[in-house]
């Protein structure tokens, strides 16, 4: 192309300006978010998702951690050592999550990892924890295999998140009762195409069929994670004409899906069971929330209906001017457990805390009976409040939650583990 260049800034000068601009823009996002603390600190590294479509959940993880760290530090820290959080953005990419986790330990000197990644990144961080032997608490990944599969087991990794199989047992029995009452025999599924989506949907269908054996899955859709357009998925489900739909889409994917399905009037044509609907992330963002969607509880300050839970939700909102999320309570629980384990071990040493964590039961605003337990056998959290209910478009969003029964969960989970060859 022949073109007379006008006098002005040279290309080199432009690039230099752009470079300077890029640095000034990148600085707030490229550097770690460090909560400054006094000397004699213990550094806790936290890779999480602070950009992209899941950023709200990552931010809510960070907020919850900081809320609890302030309390722990105010009461003396971990065995007298103040906690200093080093929080980095993984952008939701597994390879970046692993790189950041390794750097947090090797370069920044973090002695403990809070792995606040989605399942896509949690398995990558898990391998870093296996390699480095550092104490790691997975706080967001709900893929059951992360702790249930013995091949994944390492003594230094724990999970303080829900488990997909727990949700599926409770959700399956809840949905089966509705299916029997309303004669919902033809079902469709629509879940994200990665570990959490595949595993959780499979487990849900297993328990749905266990409690209502005449149910048939007539259509499956597996949109990719963070897919912008669900039109073809929505129309495919409409073609199949199911009586009910199950989905474990979440966050921005779920809101996109709801917005697009709404204009096809999909929600009036079938009964919808969306396990991740009852979280403030989706409840408060979706403008035209259809009523009557069945959902598992994620974080709702009205369930469990205790003063402790309501107070925790209000404290979070007072500090951050928004409601917490499902990832918030899971991360808060990690810090609560760390603090109690450190007290029990009278040490901030990772190995000693790990020892103390196994089987540790603590008081918790999120517990079904006011407590949660870090189960020793597979180092995963149990006893948290779990239930299903139907949504309404305004607060309290899920007015009535049917509580899951942990006795049943334990029995069926043991069977499930056996069937998978995990025990």
């Amino acid at each position: 192309m022949t073109r007379t260049r006008k006098p002005g800034v040279s290309r080199r000068a432009t690039l230099a300006m752009m470079g300077a601009g890029a640095v000034s823009f990148a600085t707030p996002f490229g550097t770690p978010w460090v909560a400054r603390a006094q000397a004699k600190t213990i550094k806790v590294g936290m890779p999480t998702i602070l950009s992209g479509r899941v950023a709200q959940l990552g931010t809510s993880s960070r907020n919850a951690v900081m809320l609890e760290v302030e309390k722990v530090n105010a009461s003396g820290g971990l065995a007298g050592r103040q906690i200093e959080m080093v929080i980095r953005d993984s952008k939701g990419q597994p390879q970046e999550a692993a790189r950041v986790a390794r750097e947090l330990v090797n370069t920044d000197g973090c002695e403990i990892l809070i792995d606040a990644e989605a399942s896509s990144g949690a398995f990558a961080v898990h391998e870093v924890a296996r390699d480095l032997g550092v104490l790691c608490l997975h706080t967001n990944s709900e893929t059951s295999a992360l702790t249930a599969d013995p091949k994944q087991h390492i003594p230094n990794a724990f999970r303080t998140a829900r488990q997909g199989v727990h949700d599926s047992i409770v959700g399956g029995s809840y949905a089966a009762a509705i299916a029997k009452a309303k004669g919902l025999k033809k079902w469709a599924t629509c879940s994200p195409d990665y570990a959490y989506g595949r595993d959780t949907t499979g487990e849900y269908v297993t328990y749905l069929k266990r409690f209502a054996p005449d149910i048939e899955i007539i259509s499956e859709s597996w949109p990719k994670l963070f897919q912008p357009d669900y039109t073809e998925v929505v129309t495919k489900i409409l073609q199949a004409k199911p009586q009910a739909l199950y989905s474990c889409l979440w966050g921005g994917d779920l809101t996109s899906y709801i917005d697009q399905a709404n204009i096809y009037a999909l929600f009036s044509q079938m009964e919808v069971f969306a396990v991740n609907m009852a979280d403030y992330t989706a409840l408060t963002v979706v403008k035209n929330l259809p009523k009557g969607i069945h959902s598992g509880n994620r974080y709702i300050k009205t369930y469990p209906a205790t003063p402790e839970n309501a107070a925790w939700g209000d404290a979070y909102k007072a500090k951050y001017n928004e409601y917490p999320t499902n990832w918030s309570w899971e991360n808060a629980t990690a810090i609560m457990l760390l603090a109690e384990a450190s007290k029990k071990a009278n040490s901030a040493d990772g190995k000693k805390i790990a020892e103390a964590l196994r089987g540790l039961k603590i008081k918790s605003p999120f517990g079904a009976d006011g407590t949660v337990t870090m189960r020793a056998e597979d180092q995963t959290l149990v006893g948290y409040a779990i239930g299903w209910g139907t949504t309404i478009p305004q607060e309290p969003y899920v007015p009535k939650v049917e509580a899951g029964d942990w006795k049943t969960i334990f029995e069926l989970e043991a069977e499930w583990k056996k069937s998978k060859g995990y025990t």
Binding site: T2, A22, S51, T231
Partner: protein, 300 residues
């Protein structure tokens, strides 16, 4: 692979209507983004890798305008006009300085701005996803045509995109400014020698491309969640459309976008686990049989 579902759909008028409309919706939204991309390439000979950012800005501008005014029409106008202005500024201040530079340099500059624009959106609107919500006028029962389901909002979307395609096509073919733009694409030196301000033409074309992407973003805002970086996946699909249609061809962008839309729509029935793959496979087939794309020689 579920060929029974696909053949069953082809034999059902209801399914055909729903899936064809679905293909049109996906295709026309892609077209609006891709046509800007192809127009900029055709005239400016720049592969504008930052084009997806204009789609993102269009969505955010529309959402903000809608939140303040409650007017859907104003939201669309702000989405399109805002990105046109942004495109003009971007072209004059930055892109105009890398014309004629190595393509890798152009890509690097564009990619830098993809990251910068994402961060700007993050700083202004926050990192969390947003939802504009469907205007009340379109919160209505969908139409049932021959048993198929067609949402009224999507009819509007298809209509706006088709109108844009027609105005653009006719404008370039029949108007004086269109002829100047086409002349500038073929021989900018001669156009400049005739005393026509090529800088103005380039800036105008870039603004027009940005406006079309912004309009696509604004139209998508009521049905898609808004998040920093949302333009990237749209950009990739738009590149596929542009390559299939032929770089620089507006008709190619339209046909390419519709083909991709139909592949996605019907592919989701017959090849549910290979819908994405089908899109790339189709691109490979086109490029192997016709390396310049379907309408590669028809430069705008």
């Amino acid at each position: 692979m579920d060929l029974d579902a696909l053949t069953g759909c082809l034999a059902s008028s209801a399914c055909l209507v729903t899936q064809t409309t679905s293909g049109f919706i996906i295709g026309m939204l892609l077209f609006l983004v891709a046509v800007g991309l192809t127009l900029i390439f055709g005239v400016l000979k720049v592969v504008n890798f930052s084009h997806g950012a204009f789609y993102m800005f269009g969505a955010y501008f529309a959402m903000t305008a809608y939140q303040f005014s409650g007017s859907f029409a104003l939201a669309m106008l702000c989405g399109a006009a805002g990105t046109a202005i942004l495109g003009l500024i971007f072209e004059r201040v930055f892109m105009s300085r890398v014309y004629g530079a190595d393509v890798l340099m152009q890509l690097l500059v564009c990619y830098a701005f993809v990251l910068i624009f994402d961060d700007v959106v993050r700083m202004i609107w926050g990192p969390e996803f947003k939802s504009m919500g469907m205007p009340a006028a379109f919160q209505v029962v969908p139409l049932f045509i021959a048993g198929g389901v067609v949402p009224p909002y999507y009819l509007l979307l298809i209509g706006v995109a088709l109108a844009a395609a027609m105005i653009l096509g006719l404008g370039l073919a029949r108007t004086r400014i269109g002829k100047v733009i086409r002349a500038a694409a073929h021989n900018p030196g001669m156009v400049s020698a005739l005393g026509i301000n090529t800088g103005l033409i380039y800036g105008g074309v870039f603004a027009l491309g940005g406006m079309l992407a912004g309009l696509a973003g604004a139209l998508a805002a009521p049905v898609r969640s808004l998040t920093p970086g949302m333009g990237f996946s749209v950009l990739i699909e738009s590149f596929i459309v542009t390559v299939i249609g032929g770089m620089g061809s507006i008709l190619g962008a339209l046909i390419g976008a519709l083909l991709i839309g139909m592949i996605r729509s019907f592919g989701s029935l017959g090849f549910p686990l290979f819908t994405e793959g089908l899109m790339y496979l189709f691109m490979v087939i086109v490029l192997v049989s016709r390396p310049t794309g379907l309408f590669g020689k028809e430069v705008a």
